[in-house]
């Protein structure tokens, strides 16, 4: 998708929607998908979020949505915008915000849009609102406490369960629900766990442990999480993304957590990787994975890597899906209920 395609006439847009199966003449779905009450709730939650961070001395920042580089993460599709040179809509503000941190910003947050191509469904919209924040001096466990504090400000207590919310490691959950050690199991052992969970999965490459783990996590573990707020930490090292990897009794584990509310994945946090050499190595690995899968390999963000060279303060960061938060606060089951104009009527 390109800006050129996006700028095409209204008639084209309606024709492209044809296979989407929406009934009625072009333009018949002009009304917002969300109720006005849901939009008022969204505005209230955004206001309370800003008040929460203002009270804690965290600075609100804004960073570019259009940038020269795009994330190399193999599972994220950046939307390119035609032009000379081409630009990419950002899949998250992470790299720009880390440049601010390296420049000495101190704690910062951003409530803004992010774009991920191809992500559309009940819990996904290709354009969405992320709340992302960074805390110098904290690790992922310290930041997790602040995520819980924020959620207790924004969501009704009965939705979250009594404090503190349960914390479970990824390894514990896999051992308890699937009888398999996610950090050490071979691909063949994971295939047996997939079969035992009666999941009819896709074909994975023989050595693709993480693909199998993602399938098991999403379809066999997450549905068994308790209701309310739950934190999962200690992700497999292969899923570290931009988090540090730490040696533990379970083996090397990513310093990463996720927050779930009523089994909806709501936030993902890291003790941020600050080592520029390791970061470049991971990016190169991501690019190789993209090329192997036949995905476009975007230019690496050299300014971000230069910022790491200059020195990223020891910090933790987290991204929280704000639309999903509003959805949970509204008691809704689909993002369409809280988005004024979801992608199919944007």
């Amino acid at each position: 998708m390109t800006a050129a395609a996006g700028a095409a006439g209204r008639a084209d847009g309606a024709a492209a929607r044809g296979s989407g199966g929406r009934e009625g003449p072009a333009g018949a779905d002009w009304r917002p998908a969300a109720s006005l009450d849901a939009l008022r709730l969204r505005a209230r939650l955004a206001g309370r979020t800003r008040a929460f961070f203002a009270a804690r001395g965290v600075l609100e920042v804004e960073t570019p949505l259009l940038a020269a580089a795009a994330t190399p993460e193999p599972h994220l599709a950046s939307l390119a915008v035609a032009g000379d040179p081409p630009r990419y809509l950002q899949t998250s503000p992470e790299l720009h915000m880390k440049r601010l941190l390296a420049a000495g910003s101190g704690p910062i947050y951003q409530l803004g849009r992010a774009f991920r191509g191809g992500e559309a469904g009940r819990r996904h919209n290709p354009e969405f609102t992320l709340l992302e924040w960074y805390r110098p001096g904290l690790d992922e466990h310290g930041l997790l406490e602040e995520v819980e504090a924020l959620l207790r400000e924004l969501l009704p207590a009965e939705r979250l369960g009594p404090p503190p919310a349960p914390r479970a490691s990824y390894g514990e959950l896999f051992r308890r629900h699937l009888g398999v050690d996610p950090h050490r199991a071979t691909a063949a052992e994971l295939d047996r766990a997939i079969a035992a969970a009666a999941l009819s999965g896709p074909d994975f490459a023989p050595d693709d442990r993480d693909g199998r783990l993602h399938l098991l996590m999403a379809l066999a573990v997450e549905p068994r999480l308790p209701a309310g707020l739950v934190f999962v930490h200690g992700f497999p090292a292969g899923q570290a993304s931009l988090a540090r990897v730490r040696e533990t009794a379970e083996g090397p584990v990513a310093a990463r957590f996720e927050a779930f509310v009523d089994r909806v994945e709501l936030a993902n946090g890291f003790h941020e990787l600050a080592d520029p050499v390791e970061q470049r190595r991971r990016f190169e690995g991501d690019l190789a994975a993209r090329r192997a899968a036949g995905f476009p390999a975007p230019p690496l963000d050299e300014r971000f890597l230069a910022a790491l060279e200059a020195g990223l303060p020891d910090c933790a960061g987290v991204a929280l899906g704000f639309d999903r938060l509003v959805m949970l606060a509204a008691g809704a089951d689909s993002l369409d209920a809280v988005l004024a104009f979801p992608a199919d009527r944007a």
């Binding site: 993602h214 999403a218 993902n268």
Partner: protein, 189 residues
């Protein structure tokens, strides 16, 4: 046949899964945090009517099934083969007992029903949601019964047996909901 990529899948599409034509019942996009995207597809196997689930990697595809539904007139049957005609082309199709299934008990010659064709062969037959049929045999209702009373079996002209209120008499024409196989009302002549 063309194929559909995962982002084109939606309920109602007919696709081939494990060599069998299937109707997609539900599609869910699943993407764990930093992980790979999956598409969870719930589908009904049209040859067995079973509902199954399959998870695909985002970007994988499914071949379209050559399945379409068309209204046809039921002509006659010889006990093992049911004959239908497509009214605009006059083309005739033969359906076996598996394809006709329970629809047989609601079909009267000349009635129009929906035939699902797979590779141009009838795969299933769906009668109209409501049919009006004559009662060929039922016991007389007991005197004094009212419409709020019990029911009794009635045999219809097609051979089907349905429960009807006691006040309904042999020779009457009644309206039946074929989806649940139940009496609805007297048919207004």
């Amino acid at each position: 046949m063309p194929s559909y990529s995962t982002n084109e899948l939606r309920s109602g599409l007919k696709v081939m899964i494990d060599g069998a034509p299937c109707n997609i019942v539900d599609v869910e996009f699943v993407k764990p945090g930093k992980g790979q995207a999956f598409v969870r597809v719930k589908y009904r196997v049209l040859t067995t009517d079973r509902v199954n689930e399959r998870t695909l990697k985002s970007g994988e595809g499914l071949e379209a099934a050559d399945v379409h539904e068309t209204d046809m007139q039921y002509l006659y049957d010889d006990g093992s083969t049911w004959h239908f005609m497509e009214p605009s082309s006059y083309e005739q199709y033969e359906a076996n007992a598996d394809a006709v299934g329970d629809a047989a008990q609601w079909l009267r010659e000349q009635d129009v029903c929906t035939v699902t064709l797979y590779n141009n062969v009838p795969l299933s037959v769906t009668p109209p949601n409501f049919v009006t049929l004559e009662i060929t045999r039922t016991d007389p209702g007991v005197r004094g019964d009212t419409s709020s009373g019990g029911t009794k079996p009635a045999t219809l002209e097609t051979g089907a047996v349905v429960k009807v209120p006691l006040f309904i008499q042999q020779g009457e024409v009644i309206r039946i909901d074929t989806r649940i196989g139940e009496y609805v009302s007297r048919a207004k002549e």
